[in-house]
Subunit: 758 residues, 2 copies
Amino acid sequence: MKRIFEIDPWLIQTHRFDQADKRLQESITAIGNGYMGMRGNFEEGYSGDYLQGTYIAGTWYPDKTRVGWWKNGYPEYFGKVINAPSFIDIGIQINGETIDLAKTKTRDFDLALDMHQGLLTRSFIAEVEGAEVRLTFRRFLSAVIKEAAFIDVAAEVISGRAKIKFDAGINGNVVNEDSNYDEHFWVPDQEDADKGFIQMTTKPNPFKVPQFTITVMQALRLDGEPAVGTRTTAPGQLHEQLEMLCDAGEGVHLEKDVVVVTSRDVKPDEQASRATALMQAAQANTFAQSLDAHTAVWAKRWAQSDVAINGDDAAQQGIRFNIAQMFMTYYGEDKRLNMGPKGFTGEKYGGATYWDTEAYVVPMYLAVTPPSVTKGLLEYRHDQLPGAYHNSQQQNLAGALFPMVTFNGIECHNEWEITFEELHRNAAIAFAVYQYTAYTGDESYVNGPGLEVLVGIARFWADRVHFSQRKQQYMIHGVTGPNEYENNVNNNWYTNTMASWCLEYALARLPKGDQDVVAKLAVSPEEADHWQDIIDRMYKPVDHELGIFVQHDTFLDKDIRPASSIPADQRPINQHWSWDRILRSPFIKQADVLQGIYFLNDRFSKEQKEANFDFYEPLTVHESSLSASIHAILAAELGKEEKAVELYARTARLDLDNYNNDTDDGLHITSMSGGWLAIVQGFAGMRYDEHGLRFKPFLPTNWSGYSFKLNYQGRIIAVTVGDTAEFELIAGPAIDVTVSGKMIHLEEGAAHAQRINI
Amino acid sequence: MKRIFEIDPWLIQTHRFDQADKRLQESITAIGNGYMGMRGNFEEGYSGDYLQGTYIAGTWYPDKTRVGWWKNGYPEYFGKVINAPSFIDIGIQINGETIDLAKTKTRDFDLALDMHQGLLTRSFIAEVEGAEVRLTFRRFLSAVIKEAAFIDVAAEVISGRAKIKFDAGINGNVVNEDSNYDEHFWVPDQEDADKGFIQMTTKPNPFKVPQFTITVMQALRLDGEPAVGTRTTAPGQLHEQLEMLCDAGEGVHLEKDVVVVTSRDVKPDEQASRATALMQAAQANTFAQSLDAHTAVWAKRWAQSDVAINGDDAAQQGIRFNIAQMFMTYYGEDKRLNMGPKGFTGEKYGGATYWDTEAYVVPMYLAVTPPSVTKGLLEYRHDQLPGAYHNSQQQNLAGALFPMVTFNGIECHNEWEITFEELHRNAAIAFAVYQYTAYTGDESYVNGPGLEVLVGIARFWADRVHFSQRKQQYMIHGVTGPNEYENNVNNNWYTNTMASWCLEYALARLPKGDQDVVAKLAVSPEEADHWQDIIDRMYKPVDHELGIFVQHDTFLDKDIRPASSIPADQRPINQHWSWDRILRSPFIKQADVLQGIYFLNDRFSKEQKEANFDFYEPLTVHESSLSASIHAILAAELGKEEKAVELYARTARLDLDNYNNDTDDGLHITSMSGGWLAIVQGFAGMRYDEHGLRFKPFLPTNWSGYSFKLNYQGRIIAVTVGDTAEFELIAGPAIDVTVSGKMIHLEEGAAHAQRINI
């Protein structure tokens, strides 16, 4: 655990700069706008250790993996979002000294990310030969013009006389830190000093993955007026230099507007003119004006989604940070995109789509964004069905196997124990269809495209099971469950349970589907009977003595002991133990059996939940960012308030407090829903099904209150929990909800709010 | 199955050249001399598809593997023998046309490997503009001067007039076909046109693996006289050109001597002078003289090891091919070396040492080579003990874990399911110590260095097991057994059984060990008691209903069906099925439970052997080259003669008939002992322990007889099986052996031979 930013309800701020924490600082101060994003790299450059990171959504490269150990069914490549040209660059020399926080003498450092709108500001006073100059940087990625980035640097001479030289540039000479053999993925096409842009294309690949072309253009304003510096180019690079002399009390203000256009939207030969047009729109406003418009968009988002916590500023900061970072990553503008586990904040996980989206993001997005945003995530999977069929065929199997990692539907990770064993993602994708349908009441997806998804998934499971003659039951061998600290296990309870649920749900939805879709899918009575037989005779390991579901066939043969027996200096175990030791240990990375109990919550008795929680949670090391939230929700449900609060803190401030000592690689974007889920589904006990909404709220003892809003079936419902719980229907038609077992009726307006004792 | 060479008892010969079979031809006509070796590439070059392959034993490179998926305990690199400079090159132009079997019109093709001594000959008549020229190539790698290769080309003009231009060269501009990113491993140091050599060094690596420097020198003779052509150089290359004009009936004879010196033996700056001295020795003789000396060495080897088969020339050819190829790979001259699965015949498996040596080669080498050869193989492991301790520490475990793949004792493969799960190699290495000791009667190894190996291995197993509270037994989770068609299984019967045996054997040998070694090892009574407890309470899965040992915990839950149910066009399954399908199938790659029954043969009843054979063999696809022999031996023991003979053919002619459709990558060198083991341990029923030798011979119905010799405790014993079995003590002190349950007494000389009815 390490906390380098101060506690504040709306700011992520620090007044210290420590080189040792540079990467952590960069991750936490990452910003994005769904279209692109970047780590908190410094505009002026930095010569110490840091991780370069500018990413453009959907521009990726298939890194080859077909080496000696390749076997049939392995993916051909590892897909990764590649570092895009860095366009924030504004090199600064003052009186001949290059400003560099690794070397320059500075004081009065201030760095803050304003979560109202993702504005990053930074300032410090540089003490150079003959002058002291305060430098203040501001930047944001526009929520109005998605292709636009705005950067603003003010230099203010405090004392002495400063000859200030700016070198505002674009640098396409970038590599990924994890690229094999320091491979460069971009090939420069052209540099245009006159128009101020560079154009680059990803190099060819043998995997039929399209090449991407991007154009990055910049334009400057000096003290509010358009300015053109001395432009020079090199392959993949543009430099633009300006120089000025200022005395104490004087200053200069440089604004840099950037436009990024890609071949995902605009053909390469039309990109320059498109970028020019966008740049004209951008340049029509000052930095301040652009920021105002941007902030207005964000204000609307916050109005529907803010969670307020009274009495615990750290908790407050955590939840807002998570919401802000998630919205900066994905707000549904482009249905071809999804949310990578690290969003735009690092290169790990390659910027690709994982099961995280369906399992962890959808349940929150349903309630905090307009339904179209979540529906976009579902459509993304439907659009990628051909890839899912391809993946299944690669394993000699029928139906659709959605990928563990992908950009286009085709599996692009490269560990067999993940790609064709961590099959449970195929259930999470079906479960998200259920959740969307139950929460929004909108059946248009599940009866049409969603049904194609459900039947593809059902057909996969029906082929992937095998029938054990000895046990006279259907089994699923050779899987990796949600607990990735075990690989290649047999009959993972979660996977078997969810596979069976997928078949059930597909059978239940088929009769209601759109006629043409049902006809096209052509599920025969024999096929449906076979699915039912699998449902009826699926093997789901149980231990009657312990009264628990068994994680997988031989789990109980392990040397079972609690995670508390691990010496503190060996945590997290994934940074201290060999993989062999981890795999054989009884320690669980994240909810596995409990994930199933969370998803299919109403199918289990309180006793079952309790027995499984009490058995598995003590074995769990929570070293996946996806772990704490699910446990917090179940702990809350079981009345284990202290545990729930402890786990809330862990999920909501995972990155801010660097709990797992791995935030320097990037933020855990897709698990950032965990704090929200812990509050809404945990503390407030929100549940839903096709019959409506239920709550069972409580107030954590160290909080004085919390409130949140739900976007539910055309309504905005505000929930405020303090000593009592207040429910207000802010907008929309009247509705009944159940609170702690009691039905209440809500009508629009504060006057009709209902207050319930808890 | 594909047979491209003719049947002949001593030749591997063909009169056809088919471009489609080029790689297969190259593998089968590979030659070596323990120090170096090469595939059957063509001297004159070849523009069609082929696999370049020249390898110098022990010169390797650590190919980096630390990419995205790296976890603690994974090896840092994949070690591989790299392609050495090609030194056989003799480009030929006749009347301006480059001779190239992919393009030149030719007739009367002949290619033969003479197994008496590993002499490769090839000839054809080239029909070029204005001339027909017979070209005849011969080459061998010397068994007398290990650093020397001899090549001889005769050109004989059949008709017309031929301007013949030779370009004899050395080409260091080579890559491995499987190298990542076409990486070059060699950096040219110098080329000396005057002295006729090039020197190269492997490029630096970040893994502390030493760099290797090699010097390759050539010298020519033309029509028997030393000749120097026009020499030119390029980085890593030497060319030497000669030109002559011949009329019909005339010819020319070019001999090329090559010397290869490496930094394994000679410091880089002394290599040129060492190579010059070796070249002088080589040049002192003609090709014919050098060949005679070489053949004499081989004649001695064959005198101790030949196996004759009457009535089945294909079987005869198979066994000689195997013996010849094994001896060309390793005959014990250099204790720092071992035998790679593909020897010098291909780049797959990286030329490294696997468990194959102990499990399959040692049992044969004990009997066909002087004991020092096998002892060298055991010393190799002792010398690498520090690496084995390192490997164990990498897994946070005690004791010594010998590597699955290595050059220096440190694990250098890169699949976790192999490296730290295929642990049974640690038992095979201990078992080889037992076999050597029991067969030779020489206790000097087991009481000294061997005891250090045994205790290191025992300590590993004692730490690697865990105690299952639930079952109150010791278990070994997370292993890959000999059946590599399953990964990461629990309680593999073979592994648990052999681990327990290792502890037993260590405990049994400790009291007899050399005092100083025992003192140094310091096995306390408590430690010994713990080992005994593990032996007593080791869990070894059994199914009483089926009367079999169970391959691993959940094997019987699989969809069990015989390999005969697999459609023929899906065999071998590893070339047709996804890895997922293979892993979950019941099909077994090679002996697993049966490997244990083979090793610990005298511990099991005939009924046990029969039940297990009858259960497992039908599930076995024999897609490991190591499979058929073990099954043949057990089939023979169980009186299943037909099965035994079928499996013999499969093991003895595996490469000659390309049974598994993978010989184009290289020969299966380490499994070439299979034919010998099938005859000697299978058909002749040879067994041994500390009490002596036993036989139980039979004659396969389609053979008229077979004979072999055993080098046993200072004796040569000849065994000839026909309608009767004859045992002759060719040399050495008198001995009693048991034949079909009857003790016979042998004294030296044919006169004392004993004939037994069978």
